[in-house]
Symmetry: C2
Subunit: 324 residues, 2 copies
């Protein structure tokens, strides 16, 4: 109902739609219409009402409401079922809960703010309200658990591709799954898996994109290392359009993966990579290695050429790019 | 309190313990003692009460109660925290729920009956009440997700070892994770995993052992393919002692795995295997291959030598042993 009224108002905006027409269209009373208008206003939609003329939509709020995401979404299954929360502990936790309860593949969980946002290895991930895009997708790829990592790499490719399409900005992939703009982090990806040994129950791909943050929105210690699209472009980004394009790109690459295998995804990942064919330092909790980032294999492991000539396969760790 | 009374009664059994002594020992009233005796009787403990003499424990019920499992358990951390259910959908589901809520490593979930018992790939797994041992362990091994499969193989080794110690029966391992006695299934293992790409959140090892079933307890279509320890030995097995030994063997092999790596576990697994170095047929949903089961690699994949000489790496499938 709310969605239908909204669509009607949007189609005619900035013109007025008469109350009578809405009543006829939806087969409800004037009082019901008035109540729905109130609800929409509470959601941040600005709606003018003129006696004996009708209602006109004058402003759409900057929110990732399901109605907004669905309006113009080109995907077949990804993001067709949306759970929206004004605030949430983390979208990954909620998505895992929904997946356990049987939410179908493609389900999107989106929020404006995360109280417990985290990145890889339990690190904090903070985004001021309404400034970023924070979402998780439930996927059930018909691959074996060891191949789940390919979905993370696919996510990086899809987001980079969407950012390029929407803003023109070329984001590079830093192994294993960060997106950088001018060496600063613009997107983080955290994939989680529920699996038996021989099949994936479900996979949750959590994605956080820095969109409309100003420098001042980042904690002081991150200002050197965090980027936002707004900061790069010096203009505000339409978050709804960006998430729509991200979903479309994700679905496109997901289809390529399942139909053609991982090779084309990996090839694109390598093209977008900024931490390959360069000298890097890999740090783990206890060790660090300097070497030449030579390649990435099909499981997403980094192949590091050590100074002695040995090729080391690195599964986990933090990469820093070194000046050669 | 219940546990303390039980221990006191067990220590003196078949002698009587005076109500006065129990009151002193626990610093409670006679009425409180009487209530606890009632509770114990409701749990199936047979307790005789003689006026002016006291209480005597005459029979312990055949139940996997935490008090019974803990009484004589030799492990350091495995099974020290126990959740017991008379009936449950599945111990794996409950263990996953508890793990999400922060249950520590080593937590044991045990039940007398599963309403939704399942084996690998969603197959049904049925056990009549009080006849089997059905449990799940929560583990957080500090290994990478692709190595989680090693825990499944370790579980098979541990259960086979416990069965041997308790009953003298040599159970063989059928790839990937069934235990057989005389070609009939005596134990199934279903491991499930929650993981990020670079670390395991938790792993749940679900184990079902056929213990005191009679032939008639199995559905007709399974009578040719299912075994029970009672049927083999022609005597009832002490389920409490068997689960205690299984926990002890599991903890011992878990320690070996984390300290010495997977090699010793794999070596033992191969010794116990009945589906290696023999002609087998591997069946999946869509295909089947005949070949020679040559080896198993460190990830648990079966290496199948095809008639043409090619070595095929099989991750999932059903093995049937062929007569050569």
């Amino acid at each position: 109902m709310k969605e239908t009224i909204l669509r009607l108002l949007k189609e005619r905006s900035p013109e007025y739609v008469s109350g009578e027409e809405i009543c006829k269209c939806l087969n409800v009373t004037r009082t019901a219409i008035w109540k729905h208008m109130q609800t929409l206003r509470e959601c941040g939609y600005e709606i003018e009402a003129k006696p004996r003329v009708g209602y006109a939509l004058t402003c759409i709020p900057d929110r990732l409401y399901p109605e907004e995401i669905l309006d113009g979404l080109s995907t077949r299954f990804l993001g067709r079922k949306i759970y929206y929360f004004d605030t949430l502990s983390t979208t990954n936790d909620k998505a895992k809960e929904l997946a356990r309860l049987g939410a179908p593949e493609g389900t999107l969980v989106v929020t404006e703010e995360q109280a417990g946002g985290k990145g890889r290895l339990g690190r904090r991930w903070f985004t001021p309200k309404y400034k970023g895009i924070l979402f998780s997708l439930i996927l059930c790829p018909p691959v074996m658990p060891p191949e789940a990592n390919q979905a993370t790499m696919l996510a990086a490719v899809a987001v980079a591709s969407a950012i390029k399409k929407e803003t023109g900005i070329k984001a590079g992939i830093k192994w294993p799954n960060d997106l950088l703009v001018e060496s600063k982090k613009i997107c983080g990806i955290l994939t989680e898996l529920s699996a038996e040994m021989e099949r994936i129950n479900y996979l949750v791909a959590g994605i956080g994109i820095n969109v409309n943050q100003d420098v001042i929105d980042f904690p002081e210690e991150l200002r050197e290392s965090a980027a936002s699209l707004k900061n790069e472009l010096k203009r505000k980004i339409d978050r709804v359009k960006l998430i729509q394009t991200t979903l479309a790109e994700f679905e496109r690459w997901y289809g390529i993966w399942l139909e053609q295998g991982f090779a084309p995804v990996l090839a694109r990942w390598k093209e977008l990579s900024v931490s390959l064919n360069c000298p890097v330092r890999i740090s783990t909790l206890n060790h660090s290695w300097d070497g030449w980032a030579e390649d990435v294999d099909g499981d997403g492991a980094l192949l590091l050429r050590l100074p002695g000539g040995e090729l080391k396969r690195v599964i986990s760790g933090e990469v820093s790019l070194r000046l050669s």
